[in-house]
């Protein structure tokens, strides 16, 4: 086996894989469909990279660093639409993640909680759930913990172990204090923390890959507040590019080809080994890159699409899809949004976004009140506490609700979504379902003529029950915040039967030991192909309610380390 690899995707998973394989002496080519937005990439230390990002909302509206929905559409529909034979109900941007060198991590919110022990054994501990394909992970928290440690030290995670509840430390034990102390706590978050306290909840500093002090040659965050959806203008955020890919490139063993649209993994005639990766450049020219090892890290929708596009005589239903599970178990984190309204300007945008978290709604919850909602248990999620929305985005929500003209103008003057609001988001666990799936759209194509990914998705009854049960608690917490004159809650799983926006995706190529029920082995290797690995969140068997990037990185590091070491399944 040669010591070279082709990695598809340069986001949180692909960059970690490139770094680890390069560390072990491999030569790596990374293919990325997006553009590089960090001048100096590969040449300069990460602390000296330039950036084209800024605190500029309009760039975000114009898909800066994202795929273009006309050139590369996704199509979507709900489960009930699929059952009625509706081929698609929307075409465009819904479900899209970023497309840039470094992936979506360039403009992520950089919240980096760990998953909990209980998340790895949901099936054994709590049994099956009707309509869901519950599963254990093929390893446990303790197996992942050393990788969490490495990732946190490398990206630079702020937090305060001393302020974490005992329950949290029991569920996600950590040997050491965080790399650096927390950022200053936003005023809006402080107000909501009091509301949480009146509910018996304990708000504490949110672990985040954000520098609270100088780290790795990069400066400390100055709490500008334009975080989620924005690239950090001052380079204070640890991400796939600065923490992993750029250092890997500077070893001289990693090259990155941007704007490379990969459309097929070619195998030997018997289908047992990948031989090459085929990609098209933006001008439509075709390229074939020989490969002795292929690591797929395109994020769940694109990873599934690529493996489905790579079907052949040996793999008629898609590469490595003997189980029929490829593309299935597509999971999205739904949100329940809540907010408190104030008569005073409480400066929700003056803080590194959502400085506090509450994990009292993670659960599991059982008992009569839960049973009454028709589910055996409720698995909840973490709450991001105390944010606002900058004004150009706020104006669109307000106009969408109230209409344009005077009502819009007065609501903007009152700053109801950017100055006088304290908002929070609960990140719902999403149960895996066979019918929530990615397949190839039979008609809609991208600008290169390849079938678009089609996503069929509806939340499970569990998610709806969780939204009732936990949404009520979110509402109460915000209503109880001192000084709030109003509160409101939007429980998305109830309000929307399809995908709502989230940058948290998982499933489609779940890992497991049983090749009849999973796509990948615990090593990430496709059960049916000897030298193709999946390293991104596609491999997650379930999707606990935590921001996933830290776990994506830790799992990718685990997969790459074993791959480099030649460890067998």
């Amino acid at each position: 086996m040669g010591n070279d690899a082709v990695v598809i995707g340069s986001g949180a998973a692909g960059s970690v894989v490139a770094w680890e394989l390069a560390r072990q002496g491999w030569d790596v080519t990374v293919l990325e469909r997006g553009r590089n937005l960090r001048p100096g990439l590969g040449d300069e230390p990460s602390g000296q990279l330039d950036t084209k990002y800024g605190s500029d909302e309009i760039k975000g509206f114009r898909q800066f660093g994202f795929p273009d929905p006309v050139l590369e559409p996704y199509t979507t529909r709900t489960q009930s639409e699929a059952a009625q034979g509706v081929p698609r109900s929307a075409v465009g941007a819904l479900g899209q993640l970023g497309a840039a060198v470094g992936g979506t991590s360039l403009h992520y919110n950089a919240k980096t909680p760990r998953f909990w022990k209980q998340d790895f054994t949901m099936l054994s501990d709590h049994g099956p759930v009707e309509g869901a394909q519950m599963a254990d992970w093929p390893f446990g928290y303790d197996d992942l913990a050393p990788y969490y440690d490495i990732v946190e030290r490398r990206v630079g995670v702020q937090g305060d172990r001393d302020k974490m509840p005992a329950r949290t430390l029991e569920q996600s034990p950590r040997r050491q204090q965080f790399v650096m102390p927390p950022n200053p706590t936003g005023y809006a978050a402080q107000l909501l923390a009091e509301g949480a306290s009146r509910m018996g909840y304990e708000a504490y500093p949110y672990p985040a890959a954000v520098n609270s002090e100088r780290f790795d040659g990069r400066p400390a965050c100055n709490s500008c507040g334009m975080c989620s959806g924005f690239g950090c203008p001052i380079n204070a955020r640890g991400d796939a590019l600065v923490s992993w890919l750029n250092p890997a490139m500077r070893t001289g063993r990693v090259r990155v080809i941007s704007r490379a649209f990969v459309h097929r993994i070619e195998t030997s005639a018997d289908g047992r080994r990948a031989r090459a990766v085929h990609w098209t450049d933006v001008a439509g020219r075709k390229h074939r890159l020989p490969a002795s090892t292929v690591v797929v890290a395109g994020s769940p929708i694109n990873t599934a699409r690529l493996l489905l596009l790579s079907r052949s005589d040996a793999h008629p239903d898609g590469l490595g899809n003997g189980s029929g599970q490829l593309g299935r178990n597509m999971m999205f984190h739904n949100f329940t949004q809540a907010a408190a309204l104030y008569k005073e300007d409480i400066k929700p945008l003056r803080a590194q976004s959502t400085t506090l978290e509450v994990d009292d709604l993670v659960g599991l919850f059982t008992g009569p009140e839960v049973q009454a909602l028709g589910v055996p248990y409720i698995a909840g999620g973490i709450v991001q506490v105390g944010s606002g929305l900058p004004p150009a985005g706020a104006s669109q929500m307000i106009a969408g609700m109230l209409g344009y003209g005077q009502p819009l103008k007065q609501a903007m003057k009152a700053g109801i979504l950017h100055a006088r609001v304290a908002a929070s988001q609960l990140i719902h666990q999403d149960l895996p379902q066979a019918d929530n799936r990615v397949d190839l759209d039979p008609k809609v194509k991208d600008f290169l003529g390849l079938p678009a990914a089609r996503i069929t998705y509806s939340p499970h009854q569990h998610e709806k029950a969780a939204a009732i049960y936990l949404g009520a608690r979110m509402q109460a917490m915000h209503q109880l915040a001192p000084g709030a004159v109003a509160a409101a809650t939007l429980p998305f799983p109830i309000l929307n039967d399809g995908i709502t926006y989230t940058a948290h995706l998982a499933g489609t190529a779940r890992m497991g030991t049983n090749r009849r029920t999973s796509v990948c082995a615990p090593s990430g290797r496709l059960h049916e192909v000897d030298n193709v690995y999946v390293a991104d969140a596609s491999t997650f068997p379930t999707f606990p309610g935590f921001n996933p990037t830290l776990t994506i990185m830790a799992n990718a590091l685990r997969i790459a380390r074993d791959l480099g070491n030649g460890k067998e399944d």
Binding site: G54, D56, F61, P233, A351, M401, V421
Partner: protein
């Protein structure tokens, strides 16, 4: 390691890099270099069209004559829209402002003012969006794309003629009515785009041509982009107290629908990037689609309404158990 595919510096400067950029250790010249934009803004509309557009953006964010605070015309949103339509008449095209800093947060130079060269992918995407697919097969695989330019040209002409004596000369109430009449698809398509664009330019960074003198920010208590200065610990944790704004009461009793604590219009909970991006992902830049998406969240029906009511009852019980709001 050698760069596999050469990219000429000239091509990078012109934003016409071909399909591929390869980055390896030691590679040089692959970074986009911003070319300063001249003082002349990009233009595309005729003078008459611009007059109609000016009269239309005035209804999206009405002017100072109605409440003493400047609106979209003072912010020059109509000129910013014209500049977007003519984005490709200048180089680099006026699509993405530069970064990382404007000069509002303590930086000496204004990077935002130097628009970024587009790569080939971005050029294709934005040419199609502005100019339309114009019969090019690779952009019409899923149907023809009507560009912004045609939507504005057809729509402004129809809008101008929709009011006797001309839209641009009509009093405000007549213009409001004309813009809300969606029986003419040309006007509906126009209003869909121009509301979204007006809001973006009114409240977004002024380098795009709107938000003149940052009136969109100074009138709304938004502190603007603050990098690289940012905020101190004291400014974050203990911001200077602001007086309560009675306008909030007016809104709660008025446009938010007579709301009281716990029953506020769901709008209040829409202040998150997650909601915004979700709505935009569904709706794109069509305002009526934004309205539809927001309505689905705000006005649930059927089972969703039942479940929402169940959630509200449960939350009220929890609030009562905790001793009620203080």
């Amino acid at each position: 390691m050698k760069q596999d595919i050469e990219i000429s510096r000239r091509a990078v400067l012109a934003g016409t890099v071909g399909g591929v950029a390869v980055f390896t250790a030691g590679a040089q010249g692959s970074s986009a270099v911003a070319v300063p934009l001249g003082r002349d803004r990009a233009r595309w509309l005729t003078k008459a069209e611009r007059r109609t557009l000016r009269a239309a953006v005035d209804r999206v964010v009405p002017g100072a004559d109605e409440d003493t605070v400047p609106g979209a015309v003072a912010a020059r949103c109509h000129l910013a829209i014209d500049a977007l339509l003519g984005a490709f008449t200048v180089s680099p095209p006026r699509i993405y402002a530069g970064g990382p800093f404007s000069d509002r947060g303590g930086a000496e130079d204004n990077d935002f003012a130097e628009f970024l060269p587009l790569d080939r992918y971005e050029t294709q995407a934005w040419r199609v969006r502005i100019e339309g697919s114009r019969g090019r097969k690779r952009f019409e695989r899923n149907g023809k794309v009507q560009g912004y330019q045609r939507t504005y040209r057809l729509g402004l002409a129809a809008l101008e003629q929709s009011v006797p004596g001309g839209f641009s000369q009509a009093p405000a109430p007549a213009r409001d009515l004309a813009m809300r009449d969606d029986s003419d698809p040309r006007i509906k398509a126009l209003v869909d785009l121009l509301v979204t664009h007006t809001l973006e330019f009114m409240y977004g960074a002024p380098e795009y041509g709107g938000n003149r003198d940052v009136v969109g920010w100074t009138t709304t208590d938004f502190e603007g982009d603050v990098q690289p200065r940012g905020w101190t610990r004291e400014q974050v944790e203990n911001p200077e107290p602001s007086p309560p704004l009675d306008l909030v009461d007016d809104l709660l009793g008025g446009v938010l629908g007579g709301a009281s604590a716990g029953l506020a219009a769901p709008l209040v909970a829409m202040g998150s990037t997650e909601t915004l991006h979700g709505v935009r992902a569904v709706a794109g830049d069509r305002f009526s689609a934004v309205q539809d998406a927001v309505a689905r969240l705000a006005v649930p029906t059927g089972e969703a309404a039942t479940q929402l009511a169940q959630m509200q009852r449960l939350s009220q019980r929890l609030v009562d158990e905790a001793g009620g709001p203080r």
